[in-house]
Amino acid sequence: MTAVWITIAGLAAATVAIKAAGPLIVGERQLPPAADAVIALLAPALLAALILTDTFAREQDLTVDARAAGLVCAGVAVALRAPLLVTVLVAAVGAAAVRAVS
């Protein structure tokens, strides 16, 4: 039981420090244009990484399961320029449908 509370306290402190790091490192300094150009590309880099690991990773294994069907459905919705809310619902329905029949 003690291990649980140590974990909670330690992880809370670590998370606060991690989230504070960026604002404290960068502060109010005006960044050089090269840094701005890199920061502007963090979104596509991290979004692509989150999409693929949220869909295909189970711990350290790569698998294809119902989540992939959800992502395909979301891709179709995005290609048809569906609103974000519709895209998300279509993905959930697609993944749930595959799980229901498998």
Binding site: I18, P23, L24, L46, A92
Partner: protein, 221 residues
Amino acid sequence: MAPRPAARERFRLGLRAGLGFGAAAFVVGISFGAVAEPLMGSVAPIVMSAVVFAGASQFGATSVLASGGTAATAIATGAMLNARFIPMGVAAASALRGSRLRRAVEGQTVVDASWALAARGEDGFDREALLGGTLPQYPAWVLGTVVGVVAGGALGNPESLGLDAIFPAFFLGLLAAELGRPHAVATALVGGGIALALTPLLPAGLPVLLASLAALIGLRR
């Protein structure tokens, strides 16, 4: 470039999106509460959601403890799963206001969905969208955990509703809006490739953190 709407309007747009994120956070919070209760009892999971407020790291640390790992291993695992918040915080930093303490506190509102909503590439970072997007998610996450702890076993598996497909779909919609920028397609391909290639090799969390290196493509003129 179109003029940005006023701060209040941007906060309201963030809040509206945040209600949707909050619904998802509520459901994921239920599953966290249900998973953690047998291991931790009823109080600790709720405290953890209230003070950590980062889903993936809570699941990761809990699974380490459940498999007999030490507190140190659980903390390290959870911290690695949160490491992506460092580059996210760097991107958000220029838009945050006030004293160092205040900016560090505002930085605590960085969570995946709100950050992705607020990251607007070369147009800068939208502080109001970040704050509005996160505001509904915190109470939803904690309340969801309470429901999961209390009712856990009685509720079905959230995966049967396809809820684990929601966040990738959301991120895909946001990514599509980013792809018009210079180098964005190449960066997404390299970042996604790094994450997939490293997933079997490194502990969860690090592949996503290292994928941020793909943004160095921005140094090419």
